[in-house]
């Protein structure tokens, strides 16, 4: 594998890792507040459909993005009502919302456009286009740095850079603000937070809402930047990979960046079996590469690659004592 190929693969690593990163950070906020969310997949899918449909109708990617976030927030609110207000089983709620999303997205897209559950291909300003960073031309001929800059760092859509900015932002919110401290506390020991006079319910709803916004970004990115429009089941298990990355990252933002980019790298490799064959020296079934993130996650869960300890109050509804 030559240097240019490596740069191309790293470029698509970032493109493919971005939805994983956004969804992973989404899950981070929810789970850190003690609400398990296996419905990341469904929220992304709903957002992708809404973003694709509204962008196609309005001709503006930004309006589509807002619609995507809105759709994801509706699903987040349903999850919040089921798991916070009515203290339902958070895992079952997540599973249910995933099914609901995969069905209803196709139903709505079909009712709106009648193209077999797809939204029409997006063109022009209905899509987020790659941004050329300054000095690409100037640096083009510099060895090593030139291709790195033009292939890997420059040439992504604005949402990719926004996702990258979300990493330090999430770290800052979680570890350097009062809200973040309380949010982490409510995921470890809600009773203590309650005793301190802070509402467990509103903190958890706030966390679930942040999850909704971030999943909305992830889904909108899928439909309006990574691809040009929504197709059925287009998230293809990315919500679950993000969940895997979240465990791999042990519920921390910077590690989430590393984990999602690693899984994005696997996805980029799966698209280039020729390169893999060249490096390994034998034919590697593509399905092996597809399964790699899941196998790694199981290994992490099993504690063979460092122990993953989830937030202590995760998955348990909080019942205020009387």
């Amino acid at each position: 594998m030559d240097y240019d190929t490596l740069m191309q693969i790293l470029g698509s690593t970032i493109r493919l890792g971005t939805p994983l990163l956004l969804a992973c950070l989404a899950g981070l906020f929810s789970e850190r507040s003690g609400i398990f969310d296996i419905g990341l997949e469904g929220k992304m899918l709903a957002a992708a459909m809404a973003a694709g449909a509204v962008a196609a109708l309005s001709g503006s990617a930004w309006v589509g993005l807002a619609a995507g976030i809105g759709a994801s927030l509706i699903f987040a609110a349903l999850h919040g009502v089921a798991s916070i207000t009515f203290r339902g089983n958070q895992l079952i709620s997540g599973v249910a919302l995933n099914f609901l999303a995969s069905g209803i997205t196709v139903l709505i897209a079909q009712a709106l456009f009648g193209q077999g559950g797809r939204t029409p291909p997006l063109v022009g300003s209905a899509r987020f286009h790659p941004i050329e960073l300054p000095f690409v031309e100037a640096l083009k001929d510099v060895p090593l740095i030139g291709p790195l800059y033009s292939e890997v760092i420059s040439g992504h859509s604005i949402l990719v850079y926004a996702a990258m900015a979300c990493v330090p932002l999430s770290w800052w919110v979680l570890y350097r603000t009062r809200f973040g401290l309380r949010l982490r506390a409510v995921g470890e020991n809600p009773a203590a937070v309650d005793t301190a006079g802070v509402s467990v319910v509103s903190l958890r709803f706030a966390a679930v809402a942040i999850t909704g916004v971030l999943c909305g970004l992830a889904g909108a990115y899928m439909a309006t930047a990574l691809q040009a429009g929504f197709g059925r089941e287009m998230t293809a298990g990315r919500g679950y990979i993000a969940l895997a990355a979240l465990i791999f990252a042990k519920w921390r933002p910077w590690q989430a960046l590393g984990a999602t980019m690693l899984f994005g790298f696997f996805q980029a490799l799966a698209l280039r079996p020729d390169v893999v064959e060249g490096v390994v020296g034998m034919k590697v079934p593509v399905s092996m590469l597809d399964a790699l993130p899941y196998i790694l996650t199981v290994l992490v869960l099993a504690g063979f690659v460092g122990k993953a300890i989830p937030p202590r109050a995760g998955g348990e509804p909080y019942v205020k004592e009387r």
Binding site: N89, V298, L301
Partner: protein, 381 residues
């Protein structure tokens, strides 16, 4: 009053949940410009209106009984097995390997061997998440989800690189030998009279040789195995020492440990049974219907098991009824796809709503009922 009478908890809560799910589903249909009543009519007609419709409804029901029982057994041990889909796919692999291994002399021998293969492979696929849960505390929900994806990648690998016969393009195994063909309901004496094809005027349709013709339906002998499995699971859970241990462990891990129940052993056994039941589904779809192993053979039935178990309140009889309900939804949904512009995905919407209302919003339904009951009580007083 803050408690419901037991009959209301067992019967009313799932029924009200179902009604709420149906109301939301009807609103979804209205929103996309379809008539819910007309849709319901087509579904009932498609699933129960004809003998062939029954054949498909019962075929789906058979699969859903197995996956519903699978989730039920795990639920009683306090484990949420979302891995039914992967376990059913691996069960399919077990069936395929058994069926392709020998030129089977008779279907009954093949069925016995294939059932063992399906159960063994399904159980093996559940064993790893079970072991990791029991020994290393890895959350079984996440590991079983991961194992679903690993299963589908593994099956793709097996079909593309191992089982695909030379010269075949599509990723599928070879066709099973004729001796492994299971009798369908329309092949069975007496039962098949139900599936006799009739002309428009009600007279039986005759072939050129003058024999009565029968609709070919996918529902097969596996249906009876599924019903037997309901009885076996009921007996296991409520009439054996092991079943008592499983239920005690699910109710309170700490108390059962104190009573001398080995948590590792119970977790493993419950998940092995659960995986075996999910795997057994494959004799219905892989051996009974497609007669070769295809990609994504379980077609979501593993996930429907979750809805079936929740709807059936984790009781084999409830699972049987809920499986029939979902069989109706699946066959009726297919009829909708054929006769209307409503996409097949409507089934997923209904499935999601049923899981949401019966599994996650059950507390809301209970509160609603308690409120209604107290209302009735006030009126009576």
């Amino acid at each position: 009053m803050n408690k419901l009478p037991q009959w209301a908890d067992v019967v009313l809560v799932p029924l009200v949940s179902l009604v709420l799910a149906a109301i939301v589903a009807a609103m979804v249909l209205l929103a996309i410009g379809q008539s819910p009543l007309a849709a319901l009519g087509i579904m009932v007609d498609g699933a129960f209106g004809t003998a062939a419709g029954w054949g498909y409804t019962l075929y789906y029901t058979t699969s859903f009984i197995f996956t519903g029982l699978s989730v039920t057994v795990a639920f009683h041990a306090g484990l949420f097995n979302i891995g039914g889909e992967g376990q059913a796919q691996l069960g399919g692999l077990g069936v395929a390997l058994v069926c392709l291994a020998l030129p089977w002399p008779h279907w009954s021998v093949a069925l016995l061997a294939a059932s063992l293969g399906a159960a063994a492979f399904g159980a093996a696929w559940a064993a790893v998440p079970a072991y990791l849960q029991a020994k290393r505390g890895s959350h079984i929900v996440i590991t079983t989800i991961m194992f679903n994806y690993i299963a589908s990648a593994f099956i793709v690998y097996m079909l593309v690189d191992v089982l695909r016969p030379a010269g075949q393009m599509d990723p599928a195994s070879a066709k099973f030998p004729a001796g492994a063909k299971l009798p369908t309901l329309s092949d069975m004496p007496l039962l098949r009279e139900f599936f006799a094809r009739v002309n428009a005027d009600g007279t039986p349709k005759l072939s050129k040789a003058g024999e009565v013709m029968y609709s070919n339906v996918p529902a097969n002998v596996t249906l009876f195995i599924a019903i037997a499995a309901c009885v076996v699971v009921w007996a296991l859970l409520w009439r054996t020492r092991l079943g008592y241990q499983i239920r005690a462990f699910g109710k309170s891990e700490a108390a059962s440990k104190y009573a001398g129940i080995n948590p590792v052993k119970i977790t493993m056994i419950a998940m092995l049974i659960s995986g075996a039941l999910a795997g057994m589904m494959a004799i219905n779809n892989v051996m009974g219907e497609s007669e070769r192993l295809l990609q994504n053979s379980a077609e979501g039935a593993g996930f429907i098991g979750i809805a079936v178990a929740l709807m059936g309140r984790n009781h084999p009889l409830g699972v049987l009824l809920a499986a029939l309900l979902f069989g109706f939804l699946y066959q009726g949904g297919a009829a909708l796809g054929l006769n209307t512009t409503i996409p097949l995905e409507m089934r997923l919407v209904v499935q999601g709503l049923v899981i949401l209302f019966t599994g996650a919003l059950d507390q809301m339904v209970r509160m609603l009922l308690i409120w209604l009951f107290s209302f009735g009580r006030k009126a009576a007083a």
